[in-house]
Symmetry: C2
Subunit: 110 residues, 2 copies
């Protein structure tokens, strides 16, 4: 039984080998999701409520879902917190150089 009534289903995480480039590009093509990924590229694990984005919780949940299903992030529970982790190693293995190039492009005024 889920610990929170807000979660309707177990999160789906693609295996590293199944990460799809078009899904990754779609996930990154949004300012809120890009901000989440940028933030994680500096600090690879953060509590979910601490990202510098200004959106409603339900909207943030949607963005996390898109990032999770594209293979960009994982969540894990620790004590009372839900932590978000960037799947940097999986992405680097699947698409060498991609995440770093995109993150640098956005940081340089994308």
């Amino acid at each position: 039984m889920p610990r929170s009534g807000r979660r309707r289903e177990a999160p789906h995480y693609p295996d590293a080998a199944d990460i799809d480039l078009l899904d990754v590009l779609h996930a990154l093509a949004d300012p809120t999701r890009m901000t989440i990924v940028q933030t994680l590229s500096v600090e690879p694990e953060r509590a979910c409520g601490t990202f510098p984005v200004d959106v409603a919780p339900s909207t943030l949940s949607h963005h996390f879902k898109v990032l999770r299903e594209a293979g960009l992030i994982r969540h894990r529970e620790e004590a009372n917190r839900r932590l978000t982790t960037l799947r940097a190693a999986d992405l680097e293995e699947r698409f060498p150089g991609l995440l770093g190039t995109v993150v640098a492009a956005y940081r340089n005024g994308g």
Copy 2:
């Protein structure tokens, strides 16, 4: 006056400096548009009807518009043909390494 009644407005091309990363990622996050960009990455100028994509002409026009407005391609008229060109130099100047990394990722089974 436009030479073809099908064109309702002059195409809009962003200046190289105004190319937006999220627009580029959105434009690339589609199999038809990615195929067009992949094809142009091998052969930088092609006639519009010669891309290896299987979509209706109106759908193809839409995809060209998205690519054009994101700054990925230009069109030019030559004799009776409309040619499509990849803006590889502009993209490289704006986001070094991005296009090459994405194209390589897709070619390697994205």
